[in-house]
Amino acid sequence: MIDWVSQLQARFPQRTRTSTAEFAVGGMRPAIALSPANNNEAAQIIGFAAQNKIPVIPCGRRTNQELLAPPPSDFLLISTRSMESLIHHEPGDMVATVQAGMRFYAFSDAIAAQGQWLPIDAPPGATIGGIVAANTHGPRAWGYGKLRDMILGMTVVNGDGVLRKCGAKVVKNVTGYSLDKLYIGSFGTLGLITEVTFKLRPLPAEGIFFEASFSTIAEGLSAMRAIAARNLPLEMVRVFKLRDERAMPKVVVCATGTHTELIRIENELRAAVPAVAFGDSDKEGHRSSAAQRSWVAGTRGYRRLKVFPMECGATLRFGCTSSRLDSALKVVEIHQRGHWSLGTTDGVIDISPLTAPEAARISSEFEKLSVNFAWENIVGVNIPNRWGAPRPEWALMKQIKSALDPAGIMNPGRFVV
């Protein structure tokens, strides 16, 4: 056994998880898995790792680990699963502070009991810390914005083992640097997020869900644009196509509001795309199967489409300006068989089979078009630059990482820094 493993085991016997198989990341088992019960223990563990230059992989319920490159060998896994309390929720302030290990669904249930929600979509099981570290948000970012617009403050154990807080617990704050923005989407490379404070929203009174089928993705796109152009207060409008050659592309629209507002929205939708019949609206928002995947997300989460069985493939996630979308789609149009999900400025496409030269071609075409992208869930294909070619500002990011993780132990080699 490695020396530091036995030392950690001796120091944190209660926190050591014996079955490391259960904590495998990218098919690799950690040398030791520890689940600290509080901020201080987390700080001690990471402090120890920093002193001994041990690679640390922070994790919640491992729903987002495949978004990163595989870990180095002999790593320490630090799990937030013993830190899963709702620390504070004051409904009158519409603010909640929650420990990073709390599952998003459990958190949603707790605040829904008080008539509030955090309008993001996340995979089942995902933890608050994981969602924030991966900057997970679903299709409803279209209507509600992204996590960055909902996070007020955070507590983080940085790579030097020091617990630091940033931001605040009130809805508006410009006190000191917004390091919380830095941690959102930093994939655990700067530290372990231990607590997050969110700005919540009131649960909507009523919701509607529409879907309409089209024979081609292009037709779906033009319907989506016609709807988006009406500036309605929608939650989302998106084109989905399942991974099935016979599957028809669908435009899915979700909206919330009062009864009168929803009637108006329904009429506008029918006027925007007159030639196509939208499916019956589902005022409960809980019945249709597509709703299960998207609209229900608010209280029950976004049921991510099952990762396809494949031998070689990957998920391509990209973002571009809406006027670039057509050019971006031209680059990937030959991969029509995969699952597609398109917004007005972003897309997620599962591509399988995928070869390394084809991935390189897509990356290079996207870079020429100023389309941002990330390759995720990579299986059986070599994609060296998951986020494209290094950019000038990455040097600055590396310096920021060195400042907050001086020993370079947090998720080393797994992200752009």
């Binding site: 004051e90 409904p91 009158g92 302030d93 519409m94 603010v95 008539g115 509030q116 914005g145 960055r148 020091v162 630091r164 807080k165 940033c166 605040a168 617990k169 009130v170 809805v171 508006k172 704050n173 410009v174 006190t175 000191g176 640097y177 917004s178 390091l179 923005k181 830095l182 959102i184 989407g185 930093s186 309605l232 509001g257 009062t258 009168t260 108006r264 996630r317 990209f318 973002g319 571009c320 300006t321 006027s323 670039r324 400025t345 972003d346 389309v371 941002n372 992208f373 990330a374 986020w387 494209g388 950019r391 500002e393 600055l396 990011m397 920021i400 400042a403 907050l404 992200f415 820094v417």
Partner: protein, 505 residues
Amino acid sequence: MPAPAGGWRFEQPVNAHGIPNYRALPAALLDALKSAVGPANVLTGRDETTVYDCDGLTLHKSPPGAVVFVKNAAEISAVVKACNTHNYPFIARGTGTGLSGGVIALNNAIVIELARMNRVLEVNIADRYAVVEPGVINASLTKACAAHALHFAPDPSSQGACTIGGNVAENSGGPHTLKYGVTINHILGIEAVLPNGEIVTFGGPAPMTPGYDLVGLFVGSEGTFGICTKAWCRLTPNPEAVKTLLAVFPTIDAASRAVTGIIGAGIVPAALELIDKHIIRAVESWLHLGFPLDAGAVLLIELDGLRDGLDALAERVMAVCTEHGCISVRVAKDNAERLLLWKARKQAFGAIGRICPSFYIQDGVIPRTRLPEMIAKIESLSKKYGLTVCNVFHAGDGNLHPIILFDEREPKQLDDALACNSEIMRTVVEMGGALSGEHGIGIEKLEFMPMVYNEDDLEGMSRVRDVFDPKRLSNPGKAVPSRKCWEVKGHEAPRLAFGVRKAHG
């Protein structure tokens, strides 16, 4: 509650690298500045530079070493590089409307004046963004895209004068922040000159820039991470319908309870502003807008969205107001009346200037459920110090703007105003609030930072600052206090307000 100051210093005779503060402008630097921007664009005479001694926080003043007018990022880069060569501090300035002393040229810094970089470079309707230079006035951007029914959402009260560059530096808010968010929620990308003179771009119009969110980090860094030279601003569609209500309350307590009630009922208005009787009287005596002089306070409530839902929403809001003792509600009949109601809010600070020689505006944010308690506390402090404290603020966000009125010429009043200010700050922190919601820390609130952040928190911020500005040349002495280890032995941290004043006579 940790005591302020402690190990943190707020003014140093030397900075972290032993570079002395308060120094004369080296002749070689002046030459370098002149060759960078042309001799006609460098001001050094005190008669010309005096107007650059302070911003909206007139209590603090410091003369710039020189004022440099720049036209583009390349010139800024050249000026910044020259300053680096001479280890001389610099600071960018828009129109100086800040309220926290953020653009005061501490240590006789070079002021880089951005007023000439005032072009809207692109308005992209299809993709709903605009690219602007930092000197563009906030309201001009909205004007530039008004024909397309789009606007730039952050709307500080000073929007007719403040610049986008300043909004980016301070992460400014405004009344409509409640529904639409602050500046950071509307900035897609930044081009900046870093404190070493390098020109960089963070983010951009397309989402999903890989890596850390440097735009989020840069916005609100108060000029300490560099100078924004270009910003990609998100444009927001104008709401289809707007309803503006003026709800009149007998007391400020009743009005603040109504605010807590509205938010607690799960209603998110576009704006929810509280204006107290002092402000109403000051505004009325000047502008004669027809506000009720016998009211204890009024709430200016704006609702927007689809016209279909607005009446029902307004009824819900009015029901909450009535429940809390609202005397009457005036609904703006048309846009002209709406603008009139808003005029009272936006001109409030100007009106104060007419009734009192000096005033001190605060910017603390508290949990919204604690507004009534806070209002009572402010009233008791007002009595304790015998100073009038007016309230006109973003009530829906819990973002207070208590305005302490005093006469600067009376030393006791100035002392009392500062003491009253400290007590309000302390109460904000005790309630779990933030020191500033939109004005920034600047130099004004620096001494209070250790009340909200411990040494580790501040040291973490300091580390990030070291990445951007290891020599502490970019707007030094602002935003985040510096470390104790740089302290010169025996030099006590002076009370800030007086420290700066004394240093410059």
